[in-house]
Amino acid sequence: MRIALSVNGCVHELDVPAHTLLVDVLREHLGLTGTHVGCDTSQCGACTVHADGRAIKSCSLLAVQAQDMAITTIEGIGDAENLHPMQASFREHHGLQCGFCTPGMIMQAIDLVENNSELSNISIRAGLKGNLCRCTGYHNIVRAVQAVADQRKAQGAAE
């Protein structure tokens, strides 16, 4: 069926079977391979993207369902010259090892800091429950997210 999808600010018109998942359209049709498929069973969070600004698992949403949403992928939040603050913080704090879970972690972490004014080690770990890191590199991931949360809080206090 014909669908129109808004991805990273660009509207794409596609012809795909109704059972096509959003993540497959992103990767196979639009070439946006920054969004990963880890478990394909809604557990690992590697496929996390934003739909209307909130984190969702793109392996658990049909592409046709996403038609009225503004989809943002890891490619849409920054690039090598202009890293998103969350990307910069992951680099700064070594919040990645093999890097496979990183795009999903970053998309979820952005949702977390944007929707919670107070974040602690415990609430960050709870907030990242839907994202698995097989390298078990959680310690530095939590540090990276905490740093951005602290930055935002300091900026909010200064304004």
Partner: protein
Amino acid sequence: MYSFQYHAPTSLAEANTLFAQADDPIYIAGGMTLIPSMKQRLAQPSDVIDLAAVDELRGVTVNPDSVVVGALTTHNQVAEHQALGSVLPVLAKVAAGIGDNQVRNRGTLGGSLANSDPAADYPAAVVALGATFVTNQRRIHADEFFVDLFETALSPNEIILRVEFPVPQRAAYAKFANQASGYAVVGVLVADFGDSIRVGVTGAGPCAFRACGMEQLLQADFSAGALANSDVPNAGFNSDLHASADYRAHLVRVMGQRAVQKLLEVTL
């Protein structure tokens, strides 16, 4: 995933007509259970009817003595709704503990309840709060809604529009979550309405139910200790690799006590 016809009706009447015309149709809301089931080929509907554009299923209304939540309201919308959180905080807390953040951004109240997963959190809340389901056909009290494992009183073409929650004087939920999935191995919600006490249990049996024995004990003595030796019959309880029926019966007693403890702490 098997192929299917996809429809996105914009009214209840259109949704009902599409459903009536299809071979083996299914309604979809957030799809947090349905899509993974279809991917694993555990479900093979001929037609998927998406309710996302049906406005009658949206909206949250907060009154001093009742809260009405539209079926399409996501778990995070419930968890983050300020007026709802101040009038019926226990529901916001239940919603905030469902699944993970990504699931809470898609999963809906109506979808979760219509699915009647034995380990879902919301069923304990609607049972303990004595909520009423408003469907496109009738009103159903929570006591009559859950029938069995993944089975409710809903007829195949019936759609939950909204759920009306009475506001208790105080209430608290305690769950023993599976460490990997976050699903309730057992969850108990205790609600004190002043003249009556209701206890809803999820996770233990094939579907959510009221623990009438615990309600009577709390009516006589509203303390965690009153439940310490409560008799929880384990007949028909779930028994799987996560917990035996006996252990689940034990957890009902312990989660009941923890819910009462939490409830008393909040109001001190």
